[in-house]
Symmetry: C2
Subunit: 344 residues, 2 copies
């Protein structure tokens, strides 16, 4: 089985998600700037995986700081965190993981730099290990929502490749199957980055899960034909009111699901829930390069000079969300109360 | 300006729409089988353009029949028509154009084969010329629906490339602009064949029309942001009740338009209206090769062996259609009465 992000003696190793499924290449990053670049360029993507990678990047950055002076170390470590935090704006797991790393540094500012470095590495490894455990718990809670024989639509990749392993949305599907149910999957290809075609189809196929690939604009047709029983997606940030920022196109899938009376589930760890943001419209939406739209795998598919919009995410209003699946259980409306309750 | 389909001394010439916008290549088809292949392979596409190409293919097939015996000519000509009719199932303009050609043959079965051949060529040229005139009339009727300053979303390509020239949906946009209004366009890229990115963006850019390209899954986001004032699309077949078969994804755009209280217009000539089909669910939907989904411009973007669905069209129920723009005027609900009235 592949590993999405791994801490090794040589550095942080990541499977290059830009070139899957054609090539399975692992890249090794020996300093935090390399990790920051990998997050920005989407070598690694998916909110939980970005969090894990950023934590490892921070640990790596900490290890490489030469000074043994705690004050200098602190200053340089905060700069490492700043660079890592500036990579992508929408997925809150990035900031959550960096905050955990900063907290370790703040809590242990008297133990000496050498010990602190080890604590930072340990924290990154803990975040990694916890992420897999959290996905499995999410799966146990969410898997119950799918009946035997269901065909489930997913958008983007919220799988093992988007996490430390197992996945959020795909973890729920995996758990349902592991509990003995027959579940089939429809995967939206998810333009422009094609996470569905390249990543979801690839990892589900590796697991022998019955998967059918469609273009994003076919989901409505499949629902109208009665071929979809439920939708499950991941999330990049969930506001306190249950509004969900996720990969561009998720909002449309949610509208289609309601139109066809199909439940629309979101699977995400607590680290994706941002109680500081009251409404989804305050979640910053990343606008990425127009080249992601005009070029596909290096091939130009649009006329030169054409104007492009490329928002990487959209926000699905809480009213369209049937339930949010977390590692602490399944939350339903009213979300303000339910989500807050998870943290009490 | 480019020509989509043209009758020349050397054969039927078509711009190869599979390789636009990277390359502007014209292909010459010297026999009807070549024309049939070009329709099947989508060298030419778009319901009206398919009709024109099929008529020219039939004329070409007629010209090449060697026998001067009217009975043998008739038999061979019907075979030509049969081959052309078997190319694509959804766009009714194909069958409409072939029927016009067959009717010419039937009406003139006593004038001698040499004269009949000329009449068939004349009919194909008439269909071509009428198609442009019809688009311009559609534009005059439909252009009034757009207010100055509107931004209009379109899906697929219902432009000059989908017709003999000017376009249906894009013809309406062109007419509104020609009448002095400022109109901007958002173009869905329209996977899997990318007619929006490759064709609509290209032909609107050539005309200097302000065009922004988005992936199909971004339309909902743009509507939610208030960036879209109206939608206009073409059609491949319209049932007697106003249900509209059009490029896959149109149904989703229509649901999104209603959700955001944006008018959803369909522009199509009478030759696209099929009164023999009562409801849209009886319109045959073409399923095309899975390779169109797994490969983009020859590049593989999905794991080998993945299952794929590739319906080329979907059906938008009449309830979601604000108006149908034809060369005889704009039809609104109830469509059964309005559409029938067009033919009286």
């Amino acid at each position: 089985m592949f590993k999405t992000v791994e801490w090794t003696r040589n550095g942080v190793v990541m499977i290059d998600q830009r070139v899957l499924p054609g090539v399975e290449v692992y890249r090794t990053y020996k300093d935090y700037k390399g990790v920051a670049g990998a997050i920005k360029d989407m070598v690694v993507r998916g909110a939980p995986a970005i969090g894990v990678a950023a934590a490892m990047g921070a640990a790596l950055g900490g290890l490489k700081i030469r000074s043994n002076d705690p004050a200098i170390f602190k200053k340089e470590f905060l700069n490492v965190c700043k660079v890592l935090a500036a990579t992508r704006p929408t997925a809150v797991n990035l900031f959550w993981a960096i905050k955990r790393m900063k907290d370790v540094a703040a809590r242990n500012d008297t133990c000496g730099v050498a010990a602190l470095k080890m604590l930072l590495v340990a924290e990154a490894l803990a975040i990694h290990a916890q992420d897999i455990a959290i996905c499995k718990r999410m799966g146990r809670h969410g898997g119950k929502l799918f009946k035997n024989g269901y065909t489930v639509l997913t958008h983007c990749n919220a799988g093992a490749l988007a996490t430390a392993g197992y996945g959020t949305a795909l973890g729920v599907i995996r758990a349902a199957i592991e509990s003995g149910k027959k579940i089939k999957v429809f995967a939206d290809e998810t333009r422009p980055f094609l996470q569905g075609a390249r990543l979801t189809a690839w990892e589900l196929q590796k697991d022998g899960i019955d998967t059918t690939l469609i273009t994003d604009n076919m989901a409505g047709y499949m629902m109208k034909k009665g071929l979809i029983n439920a939708v499950v997606v991941g999330a990049d940030r969930i506001a306190a009111n249950g509004d969900v920022a996720n990969k561009i196109g998720t909002y449309t899938v949610a509208i289609l699901a309601r139109e066809h009376r199909i439940p629309f589930y979101v699977a995400a760890p607590l680290s994706t829930i941002d109680l500081k943001i009251k409404h989804g419209d305050r979640i910053p939406i990343e606008e990425r390069s127009s080249k992601e739209v005009t070029h596909i795998q290096g091939k130009m598919v649009a006329p030169k000079g054409i104007k492009v919009k490329n928002p990487a995410f959209d926000v699905t209003p809480n009213a369209l969300v049937s339930a949010i699946i977390t590692e602490k259980g399944v939350v339903r409306k009213p979300y303000v109360k339910g989500l807050k309750g998870l943290f009490d």
